[in-house]
């Protein structure tokens, strides 16, 4: 875990990237936006090469028998490339997260404090197959004034190299250092990156839960990433049944592998007879495998084809698939207890017409998102209106939940005086601070 374990070359590259980041940190909003436009144009100009490089990656992947789901994410045809370039330009149009004044306060006559947002420095982003992530990540980094060291999946290495070459041409064109966007290509470099705490300010892992946890356990650098998405929907005794059915189906089936998809449905025993007879066929018609605890199976009897029993391990599993476990609960309290025990603090929802129950649920459930009468699938940076999503964090400290560009900046306190010293404000004849907030 010390810098002595580094290959010297990667440390050198990282130092250059940090220096490039320091230059970018003082670049104007216009320069950064021009860089993003230049990157978009360079990607367009290189589209034939990029698509060809991706075809080579895809052929190699086919030859090596890559899983079909991974293959779909690896593939970058002209259409997907154009959509990704449009995404780059969208990032350019977002409000600048850098230079935002959060505090402006006079401490005393002529002594003025400001808190101003500034870039973090160097981001380390590690992602799996999808090469289009390179474009999005580069745009988000430049927009927020950061440099980035990124490592894609080895299946996508030719695509990533072609993309980064084009990005470098765009950066050079506006007079910025291409070292701002650095591509790592080997697994050894990934491990070394985790030890570069001297040069890298934030690690963003994008991948499986196991991978995110591996990263968290192997670096001292702050990590922005969620380790699990075990989300619940609780159908309260005062739920409107048609709403509950509609929300359940959406929250499970709209995108089953997403982290904001529900894994367990908690149903109040009072509403269970009416609700279950509608929701089970609705889910089954969408090819959802329904698992149920013993009370649920007893209640429905032989109304449906026999359901798989749900056991303790189901409550702790993120299926990331068309599987949903159902548990009957005696009360709102029991639902909250279950969620606070098994939930991963991601997003939790209640369906109820009882405002008091909703507000109790909202207050008591410990999660980044607590939703009432809507689908957990709304937990997303774009849907929240952040314009971009850097990641979804399930840690408790901010930034928590969907993180937009504000997750890529920090701040500095700037204090300007005119010879002011602390001794003036100390001791028996201490002068008092004015602590007057200044309006702009």
């Amino acid at each position: 875990m010390t810098s002595q374990t580094l290959t010297p070359s990667l440390a050198t590259l990282a130092r250059e990237t940090r220096e490039a980041a320091r230059q970018l940190a003082i670049a104007s909003t216009e320069t950064r936006n021009q860089a993003i436009e230049a990157i978009a144009a360079a990607l367009e100009a290189a589209s034939a090469e990029i698509v060809a490089a991706n075809q080579s990656d895809c052929e190699a992947a086919l030859a090596e028998g890559l899983a079909k789901s991974l293959y779909g994410r690896l593939k970058l045809d002209a259409e997907k490339l154009m959509a990704a370039i449009a995404g780059v330009r969208n990032v350019g149009r977002l409000p600048d997260p850098v230079g935002v004044r959060q505090i402006h306060r006079e401490l005393d006559d002529g002594l003025v404090l400001q808190r101003i947002t500034c870039p973090l420095g160097v981001l380390g982003v590690i992602f799996e197959a999808r090469p289009d992530a390179v474009m999005q990540i580069a745009a988000l980094a430049i927009k927020s004034g950061n440099a980035v060291m990124l490592k894609g999946g080895k299946e996508a290495v030719r695509s990533c190299e072609a993309l980064v070459e084009a990005i470098h041409r765009g950066l050079t064109q506006v007079g910025l250092d291409p070292a701002l966007v650095r591509l790592l290509t080997t697994r050894e470099e990934t491990l070394a990156l985790l030890h570069l705490d001297q040069y890298v300010d934030l690690i963003i892992p994008r991948g499986s839960n196991a991978f995110v946890r591996f990263v968290q356990e192997n670096t001292r650098i702050p990590v922005l990433g969620h380790a699990d998405g075990i989300c619940h929907l609780y159908v309260d005794q005062a739920a409107d049944v048609p709403k509950a059915v509609q929300i359940t189906v959406d929250a499970k089936t709209q995108y089953p592998s997403a982290c904001n998809t529900i894994e367990t449905l908690l149903v109040h025993k009072q509403i269970a007879p009416a609700f279950l007879q509608q929701i089970i066929p609705a889910l089954q018609s969408k090819q959802v495998e329904v698992r149920a605890d013993e009370p649920t199976r007893q209640l429905i009897g032989d109304a449906f084809s026999e359901l798989t029993p749900a056991t303790e391990s189901d409550w702790a599993t993120e299926y990331s698939d068309l599987i949903l476990s159902i548990k009957l609960v005696e009360s709102l309290e029991a639902a909250i207890d279950h969620i606070n025990t098994y939930g991963s603090r991601h997003t939790e929802a209640i369906v109820t017409e009882d405002a008091e129950a909703a507000s109790h649920f909202t207050a008591r459930v410990d999660a980044a998102g607590v939703f009432h009468n809507c689908s957990t699938r709304f937990a997303d940076g774009f849907r929240y209106g952040f314009g971009a999503e850097v990641g979804i964090s399930t840690q408790k400290m901010p930034p928590r939940g969907p993180v937009g560009l504000e997750g890529l900046v920090t701040y500095k306190y700037q204090l300007v005086g005119n010879g002011h010293i602390a001794a003036t404000y100390t001791g028996a004849n201490a002068k008092a601070f004015t602590h007057r907030n200044l309006t702009d």
Copy 2:
């Protein structure tokens, strides 16, 4: 690092404390403020016992030959106790950090997002000798809706127990669970506390750099704490010499052991002849040992009694004492480079009448505080007007710098709809979000 290594009893205590925290999280502002007043009153009522317990601690410490500086911090006489109780009441009067709405946005008709601050949960606070910290920490925790597990120095165990007993009486009186404030007394419990990531949300270590670093390296729980305070003052070629002298003396001598005290003075070679002949006697008259690099010593010749040579290791040392090293620099850039190499990203200051130099310094120096024409000693939560200081963070991610009550809260996203599902906003006929910020 797993919960299997815990003593079962501490895990049980921690679980109870977490449950108490969940109850406090839904308590009103009034209830929390009443609890703080009840704690203050209970401490007053128990003042004789507390002072007596502290006398026993002090006698034992004397018998064991405790260092004089530690003894001064251990001692809690009636006067210090009353001042600390006044501090508790001050915390009660601060604005409530819980329940603050940070975002209020309509995503679509009838679908409204809010981001609202809420308590973190359970704090783990580890501090050295000073028993008065118990009162301040308990008040900050209750104010911010958190429970706290605290561990004081073993020299102060009788004092801490008497204080926590009184605090428990105050909590009980307003119907709150005394498990909200839990005192740990053994070193084994401290180690176990660091492994309680299931129950503890934030660790705040207060102590030496070595101790803070030990904590950071031995827990997966987020840590709020600074590891070093190596701060600099740069006297630019365009500095006003009297201001530079006044600020240097204050920044070094006003409280030498504080983390915002300067350790190295960087002096532009152009102003060095005029400035050094004033600052060296000014520092020496305040009993400061001045160390100087070779160019400085050559420049001043035999104008002063010979100065200790400053070497590479001086640049990387937090003296926490009346010692200051001086280095001559060729340029503003060289000063910035030195600071970004050796500084601990705490607080850095420039003295100059050149606005452009000041703004370049502010933009380029990477630190939580960048000051112009004032003392680094202002880097403090109270002086910034936060009303309380939880700690000073030198990590780059927020919260950074002096942290007030806002460092003890996180937030939840609350989304309320009326049967809204994500499918409506997806695909070919996707409905657009309105993303309209709502004003209150």
